[in-house]
């Protein structure tokens, strides 16, 4: 049974600029927005767009991700024909290779795609926060009679040189591709989301693989080759919310934007485009007698006795009496003990902040650092973690980390 379009989701990203947060898990598995992980966004987009076959290409620290995806049931991707498949690099008769680049990852799984005999393949990135209707993207691709389309975002001209840019004519046909140019000719940045006609993709993947000098990357190699051959290439403009949460500060910022859907453009509360996630299975959250809550998101299993202001708490977070949380992202299972102050920071999963410890600080002047505490860390009684600190080892009581 042929599928019209299947998705290949690149989820091998190490997310090295998230440092301690991605020491034990791949970037797509990083928790986001109270009860989600980053990968929930592309997966939910697929299901909501009517794509029921998704190959997830993993490589770096796949354990958490594999377990999280499981059989794909939370996203309704447990299907008899199709569904979600995790595709790590594997051994072939000709040897085994790690995925050398984004294009090589797809190349190594051409057999997987072949099984579904699709007309189109959409290549997705597993590390962006974005709600996007891929069926509208496909409609555009078909209307243009394209062989290749790329989703692009308009970015401010002064930032354009940080991106891969598509130069287009008045029909959105791509005439030139500039990778992080000094003098940008366009402000249409590639989102790293592509639709290919499968026969074209296949042809260029094989060509790319046979080129010993290639870095096997879509942006660096495959797209320039398509341009060289004057293929029908179009840029699809997307104007919704899109964020590559590649750094601590952008991850923190995106979380804060979730708290302000009216202005930020990222609305997780839209019932027509739900984001699905694996459920924690915990009981409803509890708000105690002395708790104060404002502008915050709280989910199952939380127990709040202290003050929580403008923060996102994941499942099972405990905030004891007298603790103060502000502008913070606190991931699942962490405990903030009595009198602790946790501000303007990211606390990873299963962290314990002991009594009266201080983590991070509200911005003052130019000081806007987002303090970060890695998973399973204990920050001892009365310890102080500075606003720029990155904590990946236990901190003894009374110690100061800057």
């Amino acid at each position: 049974m042929a599928k019209e379009m299947i998705a290949m989701l690149l989820a091998g990203g190490q997310g090295s600029r998230l440092y301690t947060l991605t020491q034990k898990l791949a970037k797509p598995a990083v928790p986001f927005g109270g009860k989600y992980r980053i990968i929930d966004f592309p997966l939910s987009n697929c299901v909501n767009s009517g794509i029921d076959t998704v190959g997830i290409l993993t490589q770096y620290q796949p354990l958490v991700l594999n377990e999280y995806i499981g059989n794909g049931q939370p996203w309704d991707l447990d299907r008899l024909h199709g569904g979600v498949h995790v595709l790590p690099p594997y051994q072939k008769s000709t040897g085994s290779d790690w995925y050398k680049g984004t294009a090589n990852a797809i190349y190594q799984n051409m057999n997987f795609i072949e099984r579904y005999d699709p007309e189109y393949v959409i290549i997705l990135s597993g590390d962006q926060i974005c709600k996007q209707d891929y069926s509208d993207f496909l409609r555009f691709h078909k209307e243009k009679g394209a062989e290749f389309s790329v989703a692009v975002m308009e970015v401010p001209w002064e930032e354009a040189s940080r991106f891969g840019l598509m130069v287009t004519d008045e029909n959105d046909k791509i005439t030139e591709f500039q990778e992080k140019p000094k003098e940008p000719k366009s402000n249409l940045a590639s989102m790293g989301i592509y639709i290919f006609n499968w026969n074209i993709l296949k042809q260029y993947l094989i060509e790319d693989e046979n080129d010993p000098n290639s870095e096997n990357d879509f942006g660096k190699n495959v797209i320039p080759n398509l341009l060289r051959d004057n293929r029908d290439m179009y840029a699809y403009r997307f104007d919704g919310y899109w964020k590559d949460v590649g750094t601590i500060s952008s991850l923190w910022e995106a979380n804060m934007e979730v708290l302000d859907p009216e202005n930020s453009g990222i609305n997780l509360f839209d019932e027509d485009w739900r984001i699905y996630s694996r459920n924690s299975g915990m009981t409803g959250h509890r708000i105690g007698q002395g708790a104060e809550l404002e502008n915050s998101m709280i989910t199952d299993g939380c127990s709040i006795e202290g003050a929580v202001k403008h923060s996102i708490l994941f499942a099972g977070v405990k905030v004891e009496k007298g603790a103060v949380i502000e502008d913070a992202v606190i991931m699942g299972g962490s405990t903030i003990k009595e009198g602790a102050q946790v501000k303007h920071c990211i606390i990873a999963e299963n962290v314990v902040i002991e009594k009266n410890a201080v983590v991070g600080a509200m911005p003052e002047g130019d000081e806007k650092g987002v303090a970060t505490v890695g998973s399973n860390i204990i920050v001892g009684e009365g310890a102080v973690i500075g606003p720029n600190a990155m904590v990946s080892e236990d901190v003894k009581g009374g110690d100061k980390v800057w």
Binding site: G33, P74, L268, G284, H285, I287, M297, T299, L313
Partner: protein, 382 residues
């Protein structure tokens, strides 16, 4: 097979038992699907307890208003009951020439006797769904096997709940208290005991050998007996070795609208929640709500809330189910608000239970009392 059927059990639940005690809550549902503790339905507790104790062949014999239960349970996936062998088995009444829904447990079980005969489990565990408990069925089964009993009845030591004392004898719900000798053997079963004081009140959880159950039901059915406890167990206490099993952990029994309200309110105490949920997880249907939002100006004190709520007003001493909205200036005190209730701007609600999809209009006041909470029916706008 690793697990021989030598000591395994199958479950039978009776989702309609005691429906008549909570008429307002079951107009469009049955006891088993009454919402409880912000995100569960009553059936979740026994179902999850059974699954957690390795019982994965569970039949629910329903008699009426079971659409909400079917919707809740689906294929049983959330309870890990989508099995090739066993799993979830919902048995609706079998319509013959005239639709004849059964009375009492004997008829109910008689309706699945052919099915029971085909099963492989040695034991059957039966229970009603008006109790909230994280029950250790393994311990119950172990005691049943060790004591060599024919039937084991789980009970709690407590005063007879108010709701049961008021029971209307003309309706078909009975309750039972047990008298046991020092070895735990039940010597007397008292039906609808009205005496004061702490009693051994049956939880209506029974273990019995499957073969024995089939034999007893067949005989009783032919003779027109209806109640398992009153007509089968009680008259044969000399012949059958009936043992009591005392449950000592947290448990709640829903016996009236008032007790429904009170038992929900008990979930506001951390200690109770810990006791109820610590033993093992309770599963329920997933709705994929986003986390609950507390907006600027929200005040919340002593609240249990599920996901998907938006709180802009004041909430105190209340249980909020999924998707409840409390708008600006609204005041909610001592309430149980079921799924998707909306309390509009400036409204005040106290001691009120709202069923699903209720809307309380702007600046409306609804005030009940602790002993008589106001109840607002499903989908009503007040």
């Amino acid at each position: 097979m690793v697990n021989s059927n030598a000591d395994s059990a199958m479950g039978i639940l009776f989702p309609n038992s005691y429906d008549s005690l909570v008429p307002e809550l079951v107009t469009e549902r049955l006891m088993a699907s009454i919402p409880f503790a912000s995100r569960y339905r009553l059936v979740d507790f026994l179902l999850s307890s059974m699954v957690n104790c390795g019982i994965d062949n569970i039949s629910l014999i329903v008699r009426k208003n079971y659409h909400s239960l079917m919707d809740h349970l689906g294929s049983g996936r959330e309870w890990d009951l989508t099995r090739k062998v066993g799993g979830l088995n919902i048995v609706p009444p079998f319509a013959q020439k005239t639709v004849n829904v059964y009375n009492g447990r004997v008829e109910a079980i008689a309706s699945i006797i052919a099915y029971l005969k085909r099963q492989k489990e040695k034991y059957v565990i039966m229970a009603d769904t008006n109790i909230v408990v994280n029950f250790d069925f393994s311990a119950l089964l172990q005691q049943h096997i060790d004591s060599g009993a024919d039937v084991t009845i789980a009970y709690v030591k407590e005063e007879i709940p108010e709701g049961l004392l008021d029971i209307d004898m003309t309706k078909k719900d009975l309750y039972y208290t047990l008298e046991m000798n020092e070895s735990g053997r039940v010597e007397k079963i008292i039906v609808n005991d009205k005496d004061k004081g702490v009693k051994n009140v049956s939880m209506n959880i029974y273990v019995i050998d499957r073969e024995l159950l089939i034999e007893q039901i067949q005989e009783s059915y032919v003779n027109g007996r209806t109640y398992f406890e009153r007509d089968i167990i009680s008259p044969q206490l000399d012949k059958l070795n009936v043992q009591g099993y005392q449950h000592e952990g947290y448990y709640a029994r829903i016996t009236s609208g008032k007790s429904y309200f009170q038992e929900n309110m008990k979930m506001l105490e951390e200690k109770n929640v810990e006791e109820l949920f610590a033993h093992s997880p309770i599963y329920t249907k997933i709705r994929d709500d986003n986390p609950t939002r507390y907006m600027a100006g929200a005040h919340a004190k002593n609240v249990m809330a599920a996901d998907g709520c938006v709180i802009e007003g004041e909430v105190e001493n209340s249980i909020l189910f999924r998707g409840v909205k409390v708008k600006k200036g609204a005041k909610v005190r001592n309430c149980v608000l079921m799924q998707d209730t909306v309390i509009e701007t400036g409204a005040t609600v106290e001691y009120t239970i709202t069923d699903k999809n209720v809307t309380v209009s702007s600046y409306k006041e609804l005030k009940g009392t602790e002993s008589f909470p106001v109840f607002v029916e499903k989908r009503k706008t007040v």
